[in-house]
């Protein structure tokens, strides 16, 4: 069923009895051309582009829980392309372009909102770094603009401009950046893929790979063996665990990242603000809740919940930036398991096992990557060649010494 304005009116007049489920709930077949493991944003986007762009006819997505139960349903939905290294600028630049046309492509309202991301600076050093970033981005065809304090005051009157320790001295705005509705992205990709015949199998955990003569011929699951000529794994925080079943050790650690939301408030923040002095960023959802987050908990964790110390420091950052937040009630906090890579950049590559492909290492920036990751992984799975915009995201780059370390902090995953 195609969604349209006409359809909405017709359903409104007929008691909304005509809406069907947005995707089927099929039984798994014995054999597929391509198996995608993981029904998060990346797995579903991969399936969508496999069927729509690469015309693959036999694709299945296997999800151990319900689709969107992982990080794609837990993130703070920032979409941006503000990178400096060439591999990242072209990849995230491509992603942003795909976001801009996502709803037309999917026929689904993903609430993509380019409301702008403002990064504040508080001293000369911070300003110089931002200016350099803005120039680098513009040279690569992106957008970046420096704002002075008066311009920021007009946009965000509620910020504390005269904090004695960290006065706001200006900022940098990425106007094409913004937010999207995370669940709608999941559902939109799932529905679009399903409409082209992709089977989405929920409650089906992959427990191992069947590898014969160095070739992966399918996966063992909690619902039995499923054969596949090619298998692409996109399981985010579970990457190390699952790939270990194929004998791989990855340059990845799993860490928990928390996020927080307050009760709904009247419109207060027109866009996204990131604090240059503390690790804190905030936006306001369309329902009115303030959505914000900060640092990782910083130790390996597979618990989808965090420690109170991080809550403390995030709230301190928030209050020093936006003092009126003290009157808002915190509704919920939660955590997601991040696949933190050793250089802070992702991996989209073949493995040394024939027919087995890997997508992961998204750190805490994988939501904005969803469309490009799906497109590039689909390209790799279908053509066996890396997509030109993801050619640097190779698994062996660490061995070769070609790390893509945007922050320059070395092999310390909890600092990226």
């Amino acid at each position: 069923m195609k969604y349209s304005g006409f359809r909405v009116i017709r359903e409104a007049l007929t008691g909304h009895r005509g809406w069907g489920p947005a995707w089927r709930d099929p039984e798994p077949k014995d054999q597929y051309d391509i198996i995608v493991v993981g029904g998060g944003g990346h797995g579903l986007a991969t399936a969508h582009y496999l069927s729509s762009v690469y015309r693959e006819l036999s694709v299945v997505v296997l999800e151990k829980s319900w689709i969107g139960s992982g990080n794609v349903g837990r993130n703070t939905t920032l979409v941006r392309s503000n990178y400096m290294l060439a591999e990242n600028t072209k990849f995230y630049g491509m992603s942003l372009k795909l976001w801009e046309n996502l709803e037309q492509d999917l026929n689904y309202n993903a609430m993509v909102s380019q409301r702008g991301i403002l990064a504040l600076h508080h001293d000369d050093g911070g300003r110089d770094a931002q200016l350099r970033l803005a120039n680098t981005m513009r040279m690569a065809g992106g957008d970046g603009e420096m704002l002075d304090v008066d311009q920021i005051r007009k946009l965000y009157p509620g910020l504390d401009f005269n904090n004695p320790l960290f006065p706001i001295t200006g900022g940098f705005i990425h106007r094409r950046g913004g937010t999207a509705r995370h669940d709608a992205v999941t559902w939109g990709y799932a529905r679009a893929a399903d409409r082209r015949g992709v089977d989405i199998i929920q409650n089906c955990e992959v427990t191992g790979f069947r590898i014969e003569n160095g070739k992966c011929i399918g996966v063992e699951t909690t619902r039995g063996f499923i054969g596949g000529k090619k298998t692409g794994v996109a399981v985010a925080g579970r990457s190390s665990q699952l790939m270990a079943k194929a004998g791989l050790r990855l340059p990845i650690e799993s860490h928990v990242l928390q996020a927080f939301v307050t009760e709904g408030l009247k419109p207060l923040l027109p866009g996204v603000v990131t604090y240059g002095a503390g690790h804190f960023y905030i936006s306001q959802s369309d329902k009115g809740g303030l959505v914000f987050g900060g640092d990782l908990d910083a130790y390996n964790s597979y618990a989808q919940r965090g420690n109170i110390a991080v809550l403390d420091s995030v709230l301190e950052g928030g209050l020093s930036l936006l003092p009126i937040m003290s009157r808002a009630r915190l509704l919920r906090s939660w955590g997601g398991i991040m696949d933190m890579s050793m250089d802070g950049s992702p991996i989209i590559d073949k493995t040394h096992i024939d027919g087995l492909y890997f997508n992961g290492g998204w750190c805490y920036g994988g939501f904005k990557a969803t469309p490009a990751s799906g497109m590039c992984f689909a390209h790799l799975l279908s053509t066996d060649q890396p997509h030109e915009n993801a050619a640097g995201f190779r698994l062996d780059r660490f061995r070769r010494g070609y790390v893509i370390d945007e922050n320059g902090v070395g092999p310390t995953p909890n600092l990226h």
Binding site: S240, Q241, A244, R249, L250, P251, I252, E253, S254, A298, Y299, N300, S301, Y302, A303, N307, A309, M342, F398, R399, P411, T412, P413, N414
Partner: protein
């Protein structure tokens, strides 16, 4: 989280800086024939288990000693804490 420091007793995890997998103690021999491969694995590859994990914590806001903490990465339960210097000597290192 509380880390039961072998010398100082239970301390708040906030006093510590986290480094990672305690296998970092086993620095490869730089003169080995396959030193390059060994250092690649040492520097970049991790087991990253869901469950028991031996890891290095530095008591930055305390006595500045390194500890090897055995912690469950699913429950965050800490079952064993020892001084990293002792763990290293037990593995045959001189210090």
């Amino acid at each position: 989280m509380l880390i039961n420091h072998p010398l100082l007793g239970p301390r708040d995890a906030q006093e510590f800086i986290y480094l990672g997998d305690a296998r970092l103690i086993d620095r490869p021999d730089w003169q080995a024939a396959d030193a390059q491969e060994q250092f690649f694995e040492y520097t970049y590859l991790r087991d990253n288990p869901a469950g028991e994990h031996k890891e290095l914590w530095f008591h930055e806001y305390g006595d500045r000693s390194w500890l090897v903490v055995t912690r469950n990465t699913v429950t965050h339960e800490i079952t064993h804490v020892e001084l990293a210097s002792e763990a290293a000597r037990a593995r045959g290192r001189s210090k």
